[in-house]
């Protein structure tokens, strides 16, 4: 496929849509608003189609792994079985049907909750091994960690709120400013990436570099 179709046209479309939406936001007009709404609604529809494309891509990818007997190919078989089962039940019966609900509540719910719950076991073991007075930096990590843990322990806070107050102070005067700094940095990076994408300098989203060029 020529570079015009694979690279130039997508870059022009991106530039035009980006410019229209930027102007719509900063210089509001009725026409701009209607165009902006149309673009966003198109985006929602395209997104819905992208889910379907994703499912097809998933089938193709997993089928390829099975045919080539790649590592862990049995998991690919399981993936296809589960996705097919959900489609077979969900499309004709709907996600509110008892069968669909049963599959979800009996398989996915316990698995999801177990995965999340298992984190507590790892955290307990990791805290025991890592949080030690090894150095000044370790102490700086250890003391606030203990204060925050105790401040979030209902059995302690129901009798004494000192840890809650100390924890709030740490969150307000240490954590918040640090995260704010990180977020400002991320925002500046996002803005720079946005401008580069509009100007066609950022082409990673077009696919692999050699394909885009």
């Amino acid at each position: 496929m020529s570079a015009i179709v694979k690279k130039n046209i997508p870059l022009i479309v991106t530039f035009l849509i980006g410019i229209v939406l930027v102007f719509e936001w900063f210089i509001p007009t009725d026409v701009g608003n209607r165009v902006g709404t149309g673009i966003r609604e198109s985006g929602i529809i395209i997104n819905s189609f992208a889910i379907m494309a994703g499912v097809i891509g998933l089938y193709l990818n997993e089928a390829r792994k099975i045919m080539r007997r790649r590592d862990d190919w049995p998991y690919s078989v399981w993936m296809i079985v589960v996705v097919s089962l959900y489609i077979a039940v969900g499309v004709p019966l709907g996600y509110q049907s008892d069968t669909y609900q049963w599959i979800y509540n009996s398989i996915l719910m316990p698995l999801g909750a177990t995965m999340y719950g298992a984190i507590s076991f790892y955290i307990a073991a990791a805290a025991y091994r890592v949080l030690k007075f090894r150095s000044l930096q370790a102490i700086v990590l250890l003391l606030p960690a203990m204060i925050l843990i105790l401040g979030n322990t209902p059995m302690i806070t129901s009798f004494w709120t000192g840890f809650v107050d100390s924890g709030s102070w740490i969150m307000s005067y240490i954590t918040q400013p640090v995260y704010t700094g990180i977020m400002v940095g991320v925002a500046l990076g996002t803005m720079a990436t946005g401008v580069r994408t509009l100007l066609g300098l950022e082409t990673g989203w077009l696919g692999r570099k050699e394909e885009a060029e």
Binding site: I44, G117, F121, A125, K132, S135, N152, T175, T180, M183
Partner: protein, 283 residues
């Protein structure tokens, strides 16, 4: 084994032992709750007061952005807050941009809260649910300008036939947005709501998040872009107390305390062993 000192043993407790103590302890306190009193924190009270301050008939947009993984922590908080809104006779519009959202709605609203039987509410008049909407942040941005983009609810009923949506055209008709989210950077994250609703339009926003997410959302809370921020763990129990609906949140409070105290005890033991072995000098 005979050559090992007490400190050596304390410093090398096998992880299997730690897992076993945690598992047995959690099971025990879940089956035999101690039922210690709970103190309602300021953050939880803030969300409660925010909802309490809304006049009857106010419109609240509720966003479900959690699935099976986040259900144990956010499920109880969602249930308690929804109870509060139904008690206050607010108009509740539930949306989800999260694929598992519809399942959560089915389990928690239809299966557990049951607004029709519990509060005499009518679907379509007092509350409604729009099912899963694709598009993520694009949909969120468009909703702020045009709520009618939702089209039909999850049963296929046209939005025009849902009286709960009467007069709800855009962000200015929504009195409060509450997002229950496990997403710190993906679909329906608090940052998305801040960027698409709270900052450009000044929409009141409350976030109920996983405990471990609070540091990432707290800058928005500190600047006032998020009006209320509560974590699911712990706060759900407090909220259940506030709305007089004791449930899973309160039942899990002792488990939360036990797990936290065990971690503290393990850290103390580990440090006693470390210092006992002359760790400070080595360091």
């Amino acid at each position: 084994m005979s050559g090992k000192s007490v400190f050596d043993r304390l410093e090398s407790i096998p992880r299997e032992i730690i897992y076993a103590i945690l598992l047995v302890g959690l099971c025990y306190v879940l089956v035999n709750p101690i039922g210690l009193p709970i103190k309602v924190t300021g953050e939880t009270r803030e969300l409660y007061d925010l909802i309490e301050g809304l006049p009857e008939g106010s419109v609240v947009l509720v966003d479900i952005a959690f699935g099976a993984g986040g259900m144990p922590e956010l499920g109880p908080a969602f249930t308690a807050v929804m109870h509060h809104m139904f008690q206050r006779n607010l108009r509740v519009i539930v949306i989800t941009l999260y694929t598992e959202g519809p399942q959560m709605y089915n389990i928690l609203v239809d299966g557990k809260i049951k607004p029709d039987t519990t509060y005499g509410k009518t679907y379509g008049t007092d509350y409604c649910f729009f099912g899963y909407n694709a598009g993520g942040v694009t949909t969120m941005a468009e909703l702020a300008r045009n709520m009618r983009v939702l089209g039909t609810d999850y049963r296929g009923t046209s939005l025009d036939q849902l009286s709960v949506m009467d007069g709800v055209e855009d962000y200015s008709d929504i009195d409060l947005v509450i997002t229950f989210t496990t997403s710190s950077g993906g679909i329906s994250s608090p940052a998305d709501w801040v960027q698409q609703w709270a900052t450009p339009y000044g929409a009141p926003l409350a976030c109920v998040v996983l405990k471990m997410m609070t540091p990432t959302v707290s800058p928005y809370y500190g600047t006032g872009q998020v009006d209320a921020l509560i974590p699911g763990a712990g706060a759900s129990a407090e909220y259940e107390l506030l709305v007089n609906r004791p449930d899973e949140g309160l039942a899990s409070t002792d488990a939360l305390s036990f797990a936290h105290l065990l971690v503290v005890a393990l850290v103390v033991l580990g440090n006693i062993a470390f210092l006992g072995k002359g760790g400070a000098q080595r360091a």
